[in-house]
């Protein structure tokens, strides 16, 4: 049962949040320039990391804000949570 620190509302029970999956998947600026394979990569291919993983959560029952969570997918330990527009996102390499 996770305990997630919303960057605005503080620590709340997992049940207040909804999951957004892998973070920092940048939508291609010109989709029509992509071939089918590259488009599929963006659309479906995922890191599905075993270990440290950057993901998106939404405080859906609370302030409705989407934010970033760095979490170990094996121990479930949350290393840090950050607001969307913080540097973490930008530093993350985009596919």
């Amino acid at each position: 049962m996770l305990l997630i620190k919303c960057p605005w509302c503080g620590e709340r029970d997992e049940t207040e949040f909804s999951y957004g999956g892998e973070a920092a998947i940048k939508r291609p600026l010109k989709p029509k320039d992509l071939n089918d394979k590259d488009w599929a990569d963006y659309l479906f291919m995922r890191k599905n990391t075993r270990g440290l993983f950057l993901e998106q959560w939404n405080h859906s029952v609370g302030c409705r804000q989407w934010f970033l969570v760095e979490r170990n997918t094996v121990t479930y330990e949350i290393i840090s949570t950050k607001r969307m527009n913080s540097d973490a996102l930008n530093s993350e390499d985009s596919q």
């Binding site: 605005w8 509302c9 503080g10 709340r12 029970d13 049940t15 207040e16 029952v61 609370g62 302030c63 409705r64 804000q65």
Partner: protein, 197 residues
């Protein structure tokens, strides 16, 4: 005559409770009628926005997360760019004061919310049966509010005094569920529904 702020969602429910429920044992629930709700959106980086809101409402806009300000109205923080005004005042004059020049976006939510007031010694115990938030005396203080879950509904919870009194603001279509929930879980403590006019 039509009562403009009556929340029909709970109406039947309340009537039936009135007769059936035993007197309070340190716990009471009021359904608050005759109040208006306004949702405000805007950017806290926009000082004009903040100034204008405070001018319109004659009251400070709570910029601290999960707090509310009390004056002529209750103004609750909902999100970094969103607030909820709960007021007994007529909305027309307020809305007229709003300048189109300012990036302030306002929606009337009066029909969208129901407010309950939960009061008494057992209020905390009752709430924590269905709320995972830590609302202990030391943790959840007067002037604090939080959007959280109660049972399977989302609520806005605020502590207004040391009785303690909690304001529970819930979306209209979930109000009946929350009412039922409070009644069922409140059995343990003896809930008491009254309809305040």
């Amino acid at each position: 005559m039509l009562n403009e702020n009556k929340n029909y969602a709970l109406d039947d429910f309340i009537n039936e409770e009135k007769s059936s429920l035993s007197s309070s044992q340190g716990l009471g629930i009021n359904i608050r009628a005759e109040i208006n709700f306004l949702n405000i959106r805007g950017s806290i980086n926009d000082s004009d926005f903040i100034k204008h809101v405070e001018a319109v409402f004659q009251q400070a806009l709570p910029l601290d997360f999960n707090t509310f300000s009390v004056g002529e109205h209750h103004i609750y923080w909902l999100a970094p760019d969103e607030w909820l005004v709960v007021t007994e005042h007529d909305l027309k004059p307020i809305l007229q004061k709003i300048s189109p020049e300012i990036d302030l976006y306002i929606t009337n939510q009066t029909g969208g919310y129901t407010q309950l007031i939960l009061q008494g010694d057992y209020a905390r115990s009752l709430l924590s049966k269905g709320c995972t938030l830590d609302i202990g005396e030391k943790k959840f203080l007067i002037g604090q509010c939080a959007q959280t879950g109660l049972g399977k509904a989302g609520i806005l919870l605020a502590l207004t005094d040391s009785k303690p009194s909690f304001n529970i603001i819930v979306r209209r279509s979930f109000a009946e569920y929350v009412g039922l929930w409070l009644k069922q879980c409140g059995n343990e403590f003896g809930v008491n529904f009254t309809h305040k006019h």
